[in-house]
């Protein structure tokens, strides 16, 4: 029997189109980058049983199991059910694998679970976000990073969420050792200075990384009770105009971030090029077409920003435009 396979269905079911004819790879979604060891063992088992015995670790914290024969897809979908259960990914029908692949795995750096600089539980927020947006076939990239170090490289994503804390200063506990000043300068932006033996924070310069808090030996610096976020927008890689995401809001709260991303999906539904190849168009290119104001109107609809949040009045992106010039300077 010759193969008769609907590759569009296959791709949406999170199987990869392979250059090796008749073969595919299963794409395991791991929102927030954490699964339990049992799921990892299951991945290894599937790779041994159905794949070529290798496992590919993707850039977006997913896992791909290559070398699977296309006719084994139904069996593989049954085998990976326990992994889907573990990672808590929304599913349409049990034992049928993933219901979509468009919206990419939601990435997270280790965040506060592990990293001394993490300002929030990145995995937790990533999972919450995944619950909200998935399944969805729109090609959207969302990533979370615990602090302004941006180890998760969220500035390459459509929506990059960066953890922030607002350092709280208790002058009565400060002994003027200047370590906060030193480490803010060396590890961060140099927002602190000593005035008359007490520390002054340039609130405009401060990026809320919390380095001062981590290094203060007396607890004169502590973290704000609230977890805050910086939202950076519409970064992308790719052939035409790769660029870094730009700052949109700082000191935002969690709910506003969720609402904005949800609204952005509605915006894309409305404005995506109906003839886009394979229904895939980066949001950034849609915004280039509709103009930023229209995008802004959509994403901020019914968003009740917390009082502390500061919003950019205008966002400009740069990056090389290969569709205009491929010259080296």
């Amino acid at each position: 029997m010759s193969k008769d396979i609907n590759t569009k269905v296959l791709k949406k079911n999170a199987f990869r189109y392979s250059k090796v004819r008749g073969e595919t790879a299963s794409r395991i979604r791991i929102p927030g980058g954490v699964i339990n060891a049992q799921s990892m063992a299951k991945i290894a088992e599937v790779a041994e049983k159905f794949g070529d015995g290798t496992i590919f670790l993707t850039n977006r914290q997913g896992v791909e199991i290559p070398g699977i024969a296309m006719e084994d897809i139904p069996e593989v979908n049954k085998a990976i059910q326990s992994i889907i259960d573990d990672s808590g990914v929304n599913q349409a029908e049990r034992d049928k694998g993933y219901p979509a692949a468009g919206t990419r795995n939601v990435v997270a750096c280790p965040g506060k679970r592990l990293c001394p600089f993490g300002c929030f539980d990145t995995t937790d927020f990533a999972r919450k976000m995944d619950k909200m947006v998935f399944p969805n076939n729109l090609h959207v990239k969302i990533a979370f990073t615990g602090c302004s170090n941006d180890c998760a490289k969220v500035r390459m994503d459509d929506f990059g969420i960066i953890g922030m804390t607002e350092p709280q200063y208790d002058p009565s506990r400060c002994v003027s050792c200047e370590q906060c000043i030193k480490y803010c300068r060396i590890r961060s932006v140099g927002a602190l200075s000593l005035v008359n033996g007490k520390v002054v924070r340039d609130t405009n310069l401060c990026i809320g990384c919390g380095v001062c808090v981590a290094y203060c030996p007396t607890r004169a610096w502590t973290r704000s009770k609230e977890h805050y976020f910086r939202l950076v927008l519409l970064g992308r890689t790719g052939k035409k105009n790769p660029r870094l995401a730009e700052d949109f809001i700082k000191w935002a709260d969690e709910q506003s971030i969720l609402d904005i991303v949800k609204n952005a999906y509605a915006y894309v539904e409305e404005y995506i090029d109906p003839n886009a190849l394979e229904g895939k168009e980066h949001i950034g290119y849609i915004v280039d077409r509709t103009g930023f104001d229209e995008f802004l109107k959509w994403i901020m609809r019914d968003v009740k920003l917390n009082e502390k949040a500061e919003v950019a009045s205008r966002v400009y992106w740069s990056g090389k435009h290969y569709d205009r010039s491929n010259e080296l300077k």
Binding site: K112, V175, C216, T222, R223, H227
Partner: protein
């Protein structure tokens, strides 16, 4: 006089005590630790048993009341000075046995060291103590080695709380306070404050540290490992160093205030002198100074070691440097040096 009473009755006693005293105890500060959503236990004022952190060892010691991290001593104008107002209320500090022993060290430095420090004396006079029974050793504690595990006097009353039974046991030393317990309906009982008899961490303090140990290469390791953050000093119940600051107000440089702020022999600047000199440049030298001060030099003057073995320095060190281990290394080096010197005499 020993008493056993319910949690509610004990709170009644605390309520009565609050009329005459401020109560200063370990308190869990949610999310105020170094890292996100990590708590810190440090001292603050309380009114009831629930507010007192009894499960964990406090990360910072009680000394912040007696020797504040930052304190304005007086204000000055061109010709006059005015001492800063200070609280006049009496205080009961709740602390464990190791810290009770630390009080003695603070007193030695601030009251018995040739002359009494008036600012310390002023607050010290207002302070009484309540002993928190310490039934199990925490990580890094070595009070047994430092002989600070048992406290038999010096406190108004002790406190052991059996959470499951909802029952508080107190050894009350003070007659007036005993009355409060009786008024609250406490029943008389034989009470001995709990104390530990063994720690996992054990140290041996050398009797004599030969000069060779000052030059031993054991200190070099700490030049590489220690980040001179001073946390070990700031959490220590017996570190007493401070530095002075004269501040001239920015909008009128003719008036200002004199402050005394906590200091640390591990941080930069501690041994700086006019002309750019610095006595102990390397972190290893600083570690040597700190260690020998805690377990040797102080004792040469006062007859007992400064370190009480609370282990807070080991709890807090971001570089996992163990002070207890350093004591044992010094002991080994002292032994080796003594043997070496002894051997040399035979030659």
């Amino acid at each position: 006089m020993g008493y056993v009473l319910s949690k509610e009755a004990f709170d009644e006693v605390l309520g009565k005590l609050s009329e005459d005293f401020l109560l200063y105890s370990p308190v869990r500060k949610i999310g105020e630790g170094c890292y996100t959503d990590v708590d810190v236990v440090r001292y603050d004022f309380v009114k009831s048993l629930d507010e007192i952190e009894l499960e964990a060892k406090s990360n910072y010691a009680f000394k912040e009341l007696l020797t504040p991290l930052s304190q304005t001593l007086f204000f000055f104008t061109e010709n006059e000075t005015k001492e800063a107002d200070s609280d006049t209320r009496d205080v009961i500090i709740f602390l464990r046995s190791c810290d009770m022993h630390a009080v003695k060290r603070l007193d030695a430095i601030y009251l018995e060291n040739k002359f009494a420090d008036p600012f310390y004396e002023r607050v010290r006079k207002r302070v009484k103590f309540a002993l928190i029974g310490c039934g199990h050793s925490f990580e890094n504690c070595f009070c047994v080695s430092m002989k600070s595990n048992v406290t038999t006097d010096g406190y108004l009353f002790s406190l052991d709380f059996d959470r499951d039974a909802g029952q508080v046991s107190c050894d009350v030393k003070d007659e007036d306070i005993a009355k409060l317990f009786e008024e609250a309906g406490a029943s008389a009982a034989d009470v001995v404050p709990s104390s530990v008899t063994e720690n996992d961490t054990k140290v041996t303090v050398p009797d004599v540290v030969p000069n060779a140990v000052y030059k031993d290469k054991l200190w070099d390791e700490y030049t590489a490992r220690c980040i001179k953050c001073g946390r070990c000093n700031f959490v220590c119940p017996t570190c007493t160093c401070y530095t002075m600051q004269d501040i001239f107000y920015t909008d009128n440089g003719r008036v200002g205030e004199r402050r005394r702020v906590g200091s640390s022999c591990m941080v930069d600047g501690y041994t700086n002198v006019a002309g750019g000199g610095e006595y102990r440049r390397t972190n290893g030298e600083r570690m040597r100074f700190k260690t020998l001060h805690k377990i040797y030099d102080f004792s040469k003057r006062f007859g007992y070691d400064m370190c009480v073995g609370c282990g807070r320095c080991d709890d807090v060190c971001p570089e996992y440097i163990s002070f207890a281990n350093i004591i044992n290394k010094v002991n080994a080096a002292a032994k080796a040096a003594a043997a070496g010197e002894g051997g040399a005499q035979h030659d």
